[in-house]
Point group: C2
Chain length 220, copies 2
DNA sequence: GAAGTTCCTGAACACTGTCAAGATACTGAC
DNA sequence: GTCAGTATCTTGACAGTGTTCAGGAACTTC
């Protein structure tokens, strides 16, 4: 039954071609240009065809968003890896935050899509029950804080909670920046980076053991 | 020239009626229901009429957003005022953060509109140069930190920077919560409040003078 | 009452997501 | 090789969106 397999392969190929086209349009022309028709034109198919591969536009977008999350995760991993072997907790923490903010600034449309997706439609519907899994960097941050705790470098409470707060800080800065609410407070583009550093430093200090001076190296 | 004045008054009245209709639809039916036609129907005018009062839908929305910001500012002021006379810096800081998060949760559609407006249209356009003025609570936070600094309670660097970081933390938590990215980490609705408290505590502690124990009262 | 101004509307345009019905091309069986 | 069946794609429409523009109605001024 090689035929059935080939067909399945072709189906899968076209499906990913659709997602890639959507991703490209998003990166190159922005969210407003991302319509079913523009995607269809790009892949040289009829708009209706897309509905043979995705039930709704939202389903397609969700796939794009998923790709965005793995891209963001990769950026962070790369940034942490560039620290060299055995970086200490603080460095690792800062690198994660920096990479997050940087991704947001460099992939505006993508970043916004990733976090503004859940339709603001319903008036006061709370977040969707449908599971949006926690991103990998959250897990990494948790182990980071846990390790720092074990090394006696911090007395942060629940590591999971601390990780969420860390994520929130970076996300808040990126989000406010992208929505333009930070511009009156910032002179140049470099000042966002400063703000990021200040935020990371404050957080890390807030977790530090009382009386400890400079953060010691926990590894290597 | 009473006639000209009356006309001007009527014009202004209809204009605010449009904004109020938009605000009501947004609160009651959500962002998706907020169309030029739905607003027109609500005020019993033709859709085209709205364009005699607003050049584009975005201009109208901007007005709604502005109203939302004053509402949020009022919520925060109220929360701070409820602390009673001469609250200390930490309490005031926490109250601000709590009120912010609460507003976001209780006015989902409004909150999202306020911060997701700047069209994600362009691919990598950085935030709009058009001045979105800094909200009043930012100024309040700045004076808060400044006062705390003068009282020797904190050695936070630039108070303006600290205020932005504080804002970012709350905004990040709210934003992540509303986009559903926090749900897998939270058991119940009360846990967001816990997270908010943890974040505020961490921040405040990160600003504290080295070696200081419990935050002292700076006033009263 | 005529002329002029202001305000509003009906109807259209180009766009959107979405879908039912039909055309097309490929497959398997006789 | 032909025919039925199936998988795939397209045509053309529907209802909705923001937006514009020519024209009509009401009011004001002369």
């Amino acid at each position: 039954m090689g035929i059935a397999e080939r067909r399945q392969r072709q189906r899968a190929a076209l499906r990913t071609r659709i997602v890639e086209a959507a991703r490209d349009i998003l990166s190159a022309e922005g969210l407003d240009a991302l319509s079913i028709r523009s995607i269809a034109e790009r892949i040289e198919y009829s708009p209706a065809t897309i509905y043979l591969y995705f039930r709704h536009k939202d389903d397609l977008i969700r796939e794009v968003v998923k790709a965005g999350f793995t891209r963001l995760a990769e950026s962070i991993e790369r940034a942490v890896a560039e620290l060299g072997p055995d970086p200490n907790s603080a460095e690792q923490f800062r690198a994660t935050g920096r990479a997050y903010a940087r991704f947001a600034v460099e992939n505006t449309a993508y970043f916004r899509l990733m976090f503004e997706l859940p339709k603001a439609s319903r008036p006061d519907c709370l977040p969707p029950a449908e599971a949006v899994p926690l991103p990998p960097w959250h897990t990494d941050l948790v182990t980071l804080v846990t390790r720092a705790k074990e090394a006696g470098l911090t007395n942060a409470g629940d590591p999971a909670q601390a990780a969420l707060v860390g994520w929130a800080v970076m996300h808040g800065l990126a989000s406010l920046y992208l929505s333009g609410h930070l511009t009156p407070a910032l002179q140049g583009p470099g000042e966002l980076a400063e703000l990021v550093e200040a935020a990371l430093a404050t957080l890390w200090k807030g977790w530090k053991v009382e009386g400890t001076g400079e953060p010691a190296r926990d590894r290597g």
